[in-house]
């Protein structure tokens, strides 16, 4: 089944295929494709645009959420924050009747230390995969979070207990367990690229691409998925679910773009990635802001980031004070993809 989903991109492959493409691409070819490497991302986009002092705003989820709420943005409701080992016993009280919730470290990154609880079975908590956690297990996890096990540089940390997002049915259909999220990468407040990350059986509910999750490119102009990759290879059908990944319209796309741009404005970071989930009832919710977004997004979109970043740099020089609407309009006008036929 997974093999059948791998398709060759006929046009480009036949046009430029060279024997070495099986193993590598030359730097010249990558430059021509506009691919941005880690060194380039750090030196040209992160370091000059993201001052160190602003990192705290996004590395600490409590601060990011508070900031987002100030700006009237929808975020997952916070049930409580465990700050001391003593509080760990009060988790039940914090939940206040909510049976499903998420526990995450406030300073975690890359989904480390996140536990999703779907419901209760007697005293035990049930994860989406069906495994059960005893209240003791949960307390232990919380104290690990407090000890800084999952935080950047092992700093002491707090555990955040919040609303468990129930993704819109359209999106859950694209994901094997786990909740798909949308990543929008932006420079100077211009959305430059977006992708949907959906988990597979292999990625085990997580949405990290190098763990086997799918990266699905989204057209900035329309919010329609255009392309999908699995482990760097093009696919068009979910390897586990037999569902077409291409041509899906992401709901409330304009809201998503506006939320992303607002995130840039509120944090002041020049180059950032915004993670958004779409809840069945509450609509798009801002999950986190990432000050060091990865590079896999250009693989998912099949476009080198440079091709999008350079026009933005030029535009930003021309109109340094463009407002939210102007920025979105610019991105929509310039960053539209070759659209595949809409799914019936």
């Amino acid at each position: 089944m997974p093999d059948a989903t791998v398709i060759e991109d006929e046009e480009t492959v036949t046009a430029t295929h060279r024997w070495w493409h099986r193993w590598f691409r030359t730097p010249g070819e990558l430059r021509e494709l506009g691919v941005v490497g880690i060194n380039m991302r750090n030196a040209r986009f992160l370091l000059p645009n993201n001052p160190r002092r602003l990192y705290e705003l996004v590395d600490n989820k409590l601060r990011t959420k508070a900031l987002a709420e100030e700006h009237g943005m929808n975020v997952a409701e916070t049930y409580g924050v465990v700050r001391t080992p003593h509080d760990a016993n009060k988790v039940d009280k914090m939940l206040g009747g909510n049976e499903s919730f998420v526990i995450k470290p406030t300073r975690g990154s890359g989904g480390k230390g996140v536990i999703v609880i779907d419901g209760k079975n007697g005293k035990n908590f049930v994860k989406p995969s069906g495994t059960e956690l005893t209240p003791g297990d949960l307390r232990n996890h919380v104290s690990n979070i407090l000890a800084g096990l999952f935080s950047l540089a092992g700093k002491r940390d707090y555990a955040l207990i919040e609303y468990r997002v129930h993704p819109a049915a359209l999106l859950t259909a694209l994901s094997f367990q786990g909740a798909p999220d949308i990543r929008v990468v932006m420079l100077h407040g211009y959305p430059v690229m977006a992708m949907l990350r959906a988990s597979t059986k292999e990625s085990d509910g997580r949405s990290n691409l190098h763990q086997g999750a799918l990266g699905i490119g989204i057209d900035i102009a329309t919010g329609i998925t255009v392309r999908a990759i699995h482990h760097g290879r093009l696919v068009s059908i979910h390897p586990d679910l037999d569902i077409d990944l291409i041509g899906v319209q992401i709901p409330e796309w304009d809201t998503i773009l506006q939320m992303s741009v607002t995130c840039q404005e509120m944090t002041g970071l020049g180059y950032l990635g915004v993670d958004i989930m779409i809840d069945e009832t509450k609509g798009p919710l801002m999950i986190e802001v990432n000050a060091r977004p990865g590079l896999a997004i250009q693989m998912a979109n099949g476009i080198g980031l440079m091709k999008r970043l350079e026009p933005v740099v030029a535009q930003h020089l021309r109109r340094p004070n463009a407002d939210l609407a102007a920025k979105i309009a610019f991105s929509k006008a310039h960053f539209c993809a070759k659209l595949p036929p809409m799914r019936p």
């Binding site: 193993w23 730097p27 691919v35 030196a43 104290s143 999952f150 392309r227 290879r233 099949g302």
Partner: protein, 510 residues
């Protein structure tokens, strides 16, 4: 000034300063730039250490006569001690004195000479004929036994030289005759420091050959702080000759042994201190003496490690290698794109590998990490908190190391013993990091990162192992500024990493 210009200025400046200083040292001061051109000189350093007891201190150390007479490089080092040398008919003594002192004291005396010259143990004419040696007083049957040994040895020897050889061959032999054993036991019971040598000297005296103790130093860089080697000096009727009693028929070789003190008298006398001892450290020095004197006077001395006592200098042999390792890490991470556990863990690992053979070191590392990881997973089932868990890892790694040491000793490998020097914290820490990544990012990532770290460590190890590079780092530390310039340049490298050429190989245009 733009960031780019600042960077280029800094790089140019660093290269100019580093290169300039190195060029000046090489061209003007004559420090050889290539390791092959080096002049091999030995530098022997005596370190006198004792515990001062709070009274006036005076320390006397007998000196190698030839060093003082030929005016070769010699110098002493000590804080706030008055220092002078005494010459008593060709026998030199260094005298340090000072007011009341307390606690541990260290005095240094250094001498340098060219390799392959005389050992200092050459036959030396006596100022006056030594008086007939004192006949040792041995009680009853012992005296008879000693007398018969000497008579027999005299019968088979033509002169004092052959007598010396005959006697010491017997003394050293495992199958010595009954008489030797009896006499030997007597001296061993006496509790003298070197019973065999005392016995030899007294037997020579009984045979009418004047003999006395001398001290030498082994010319080998393997030992830091070696004790003086006891030698024997005897009078053959015209000359005093020095021989090593453990190898009696061999004339001391200037390439292996340096005779520090001859002519009787004690090697070290300390008043106002207790537990005094003298130890020697030997190092090969690659800078010709003549230039060193210039170097000492020049302000560039700050940049050479040569100002330090030899025993302290040895530490820097490793320390100057750390920047080299760091450079390799930067190169492999930012240009090649190998992912490692932490940034500088590979450098530490490479330093650890320098202490034992590479292959064994890697095997030890793998075994320890594998076992440790297994225990670590057992521990993780108990849901321990982070700090106690790391501590538990350290305990387990320590025990594993001991176990490996014992096992490999039983199996007859000597590396096992050395493993205790293997920095344990590196392993414990690797375990902790690796198991975290194992849980969070999957075993594939954990193994990739550990393998990457080991690969980088091996590369750094091979780089640090090149003797020319060690030589530069040690004698031209200013070249590290050029390395720094290189690191700064890599810091602004915005091109693709080699790994990215592979990562994006299937990149296709939409």
């Amino acid at each position: 000034m733009s960031a780019q210009a600042k960077l280029l200025t800094a790089v140019a400046l660093l290269i100019a300063v580093g290169g300039g200083m190195a060029a000046y040292k090489s061209a003007k001061l004559g420090v050889p730039f290539w390791e092959g051109e080096r002049v091999d000189e030995w530098i022997v350093e005596a370190k006198v250490s004792f515990l001062a007891t709070g009274r006036d201190v005076k320390a006397r150390l007998a000196l190698p006569a030839q060093a003082e007479e030929r005016g070769r490089g010699q110098e002493s080092g000590s804080l706030d001690y008055s220092y002078n040398t005494e010459n008593d008919r060709g026998e030199y003594t260094a005298v340090w004195s000072s007011g009341p002192r307390e606690d541990g004291q260290a005095l240094y005396y250094r001498v340098r000479f060219q390799q392959g010259l005389t050992s200092g143990g050459e036959p030396k004419p006596a100022f006056e004929k030594p008086s007939a040696p004192e006949v040792p007083r041995l009680p009853g049957s012992l005296g008879a036994a000693a007398q018969s040994i000497v008579t027999r040895a005299k019968n088979v020897s033509a002169d004092p030289d052959s007598l010396f050889v005959t006697l010491f061959k017997q003394i050293n032999s495992v199958e010595a005759s009954q008489e030797y054993l009896i006499v030997k036991r007597h001296y061993e019971k006496d509790g003298t420091a070197n019973p065999e040598i005392t016995m030899g000297i007294e037997l020579l005296g009984l045979a009418g050959v004047p003999a006395r103790l001398a001290y030498g130093v082994l010319l080998s860089e393997d030992y830091t702080g070696q004790p003086p080697v006891p030698l024997i000096e005897y009078y053959d009727g015209a000359f005093w000759k020095v021989r090593d009693p453990s190898d009696p028929s061999k004339i001391p070789d200037g390439r292996e042994l340096f005779v520090w003190h001859r002519g009787g008298g004690s090697l070290l006398d300390v008043t106002g201190g207790e537990n005094s001892r003298v130890t020697f450290t030997v190092a090969k020095d690659r800078i010709p003496l003549a230039t060193l004197t210039n170097l000492r006077d020049s302000p560039l001395l700050v940049s050479t490690i040569l100002a330090l006592p030899v025993s302290e200098r040895a530490v820097f042999r490793y320390i100057v290698l750390i920047p080299l390792g760091a450079f390799i890490v930067v190169l492999l991470r930012n240009i090649v794109g190998i992912s490692t556990l932490g940034t500088f863990m590979p450098v530490l690992l490479a330093l650890a590998l320098l202490e034992l053979p590479l292959v064994q070191g890697l095997v030890m590392f793998s075994v320890l990490v594998a076992c440790g990881l297994w225990f670590r997973f057992l521990l993780s089932r108990m849901n321990l908190l982070v700090v106690p868990r790391v501590a538990a890892c350290v305990v387990i790694v320590t025990l594993l190391m001991m176990l490996m040491g014992v096992l490999s000793f039983q199996l007859g490998f000597s590396v096992g013993i050395k493993i205790t020097l293997f920095p344990m914290i590196i392993i414990a820490w690797t375990l902790e990091r690796m198991s975290l990544i194992w849980e969070q990012e999957g075993k594939r990532n954990a193994i990739i990162q550990v393998a990457g770290s080991v690969f980088v460590a091996v590369c750094a190890y091979h780089f640090m192992k090149v003797s020319q590079i060690q030589y530069w780092a040690f004698y031209f530390p200013e070249l590290l500024l050029i390395l720094l310039a290189g690191i700064l340049l890599i810091g602004r490298y915005t091109g693709y990493r080699l790994s990215e050429l592979i990562r994006f190989k299937s990149f296709s245009n939409a």
